[in-house]
C-alpha cells in the first residue's frame, strides 16, 4: 500500500497513459481531451450561428463522460491516495523561492497564481483567464492538445503532430523563460 500513497514514477505513469490510449482505440474511440471544449460550445448553442460548432456532439458524449472521470479520478487520488505536495527538484524549488513563490511544491499549484482570492489580480487574470483562453484557442487551431498530438499523434508517427509538439515547446519555453519570472513578481 505504500506504493499507492507515494508519488508514481514516470515509468508507471507513461505506460498507464499508453494503456488508456489503447483502451480507447479498442473501444473505437480516439484519445483527445480538447475536443470536449468544442462539444461544450456546441451544447451551449454555438452551432446555430457558427458552422464549426454545427456537428453531432452526441457522438462525442463518451468523451465528456471521460472528462467527468478525470475530475472524479483527481478527487479520489486527492482524498484517499495520499496526493499531497509535489516532488520537484531542489534546483526548481530554489529558483522559484528566489522569484518570491512561498513554499514551492508544497501544494499542487502556487496559490499566488491559482486561487479564488487572487483570480482578479493581474497575476490571476494572466495565469487563469488568459492562460485558459490560449489553451482553448491554440488547441483547436493546432487540431489537438497534449493527448491528441503529443501522445496519439506521435504514437502514430504523424508529422503534423510533431510540428504541433515543437510548437507547444516553442510557446512553453518562451513563456517560462521570458514571462513567468515577471509574472511572479507582479
Amino acid at each position: 500500500m505504500e506504493f499507492i500513497s507515494q508519488p508514481w514514477p514516470w515509468y508507471v505513469a507513461g505506460p498507464l497513459i499508453a494503456f488508456i490510449m489503447l483502451s480507447l482505440l479498442l473501444s473505437g474511440k480516439r484519445f483527445g481531451l480538447s475536443s470536449n471544449l468544442r462539444s461544450m460550445c456546441s451544447i451551449m448553442g454555438a452551432g446555430k450561428h457558427c458552422e464549426f460548432f454545427d456537428f453531432n456532439w452526441k457522438a462525442q458524449s463518451w468523451n465528456l463522460i471521460f472528462a467527468v472521470g478525470l475530475i472524479a479520478g483527481g478527487f479520489i487520488a486527492n482524498q484517499w491516495m495520499g496526493a499531497d505536495g509535489v516532488n520537484i527538484s531542489q534546483q526548481t524549488i530554489a529558483e522559484l523561492e528566489n522569484m518570491g513563490v512561498i513554499n514551492p511544491g508544497q501544494s499542487m499549484v502556487p496559490s499566488e497564481l491559482f486561487s479564488w482570492d487572487n483570480l482578479l489580480t493581474i497575476k490571476g487574470l494572466i495565469a487563469v483567464i488568459l492562460g485558459g483562453f490560449l489553451v482553448g484557442f491554440g488547441a483547436r487551431y493546432a487540431g489537438g492538445c497534449t493527448s491528441g498530438h503529443a501522445i496519439s499523434g506521435l504514437s502514430d508517427l504523424q508529422l503534423p503532430s510533431l510540428i504541433a509538439v515543437i510548437g507547444f515547446f516553442i510557446g512553453g519555453l518562451a513563456i517560462t523563460y521570458f514571462v513567468t519570472p515577471f509574472l511572479l513578481n507582479l
Binding site: W10, C41, G73, A77, G105, L130, A139, Y141, A164
Partner: protein
Amino acid sequence: MKFIKFLFFGILFGITLTKAEVISWYRIYEMFRFQSFHMYGVIGSAVVLGIIIIQIIKRKQIKSIEGNPITIEPKEKSVVRYLVGGIIFGFGWALTGACPGPLFTLVGNGVSVMLVAIASATLGTYVYGILKNHLPH
C-alpha cells in the same frame, strides 16, 4: 451503461495524472526549465509504448470491440496551423501549467478556480471557431 467504461478509463487517467504530479504547475515549469527528467519520462515512455501498440494494431489489423478496423485518420498536411496553433497552445500550457486533461483533474483535486480556466478555454475554442475562416491554416 455503455458509457461506464469511459468513466472508468477517465478515473484511471485522473488518478494517474494526479499521482504522477502531471497536473502540477510546478512540474510543467520544471519541464520547460529542463530541471527534471520526470515529465519527459512520462510523455516519452507513453509515446514509445504507443508507437509499438499502434504498429501492432496496424500489422495484425486488430479490430475494435465493435468489429470495426482501428484507423487513425491522418491529419491534413499543413505547417502553419500546427506551428502557430501549437505555439499559442504552448503559451497557455506554460501560463496555466495545465493542458485540457489536467484542467479537469485539478478541479477534482480541489483547485476549483480551474473551473474558470476551463470556461476561458471553452471561450477560446469558441473564438477560434468564429475566426477560423480568417486564419491561415
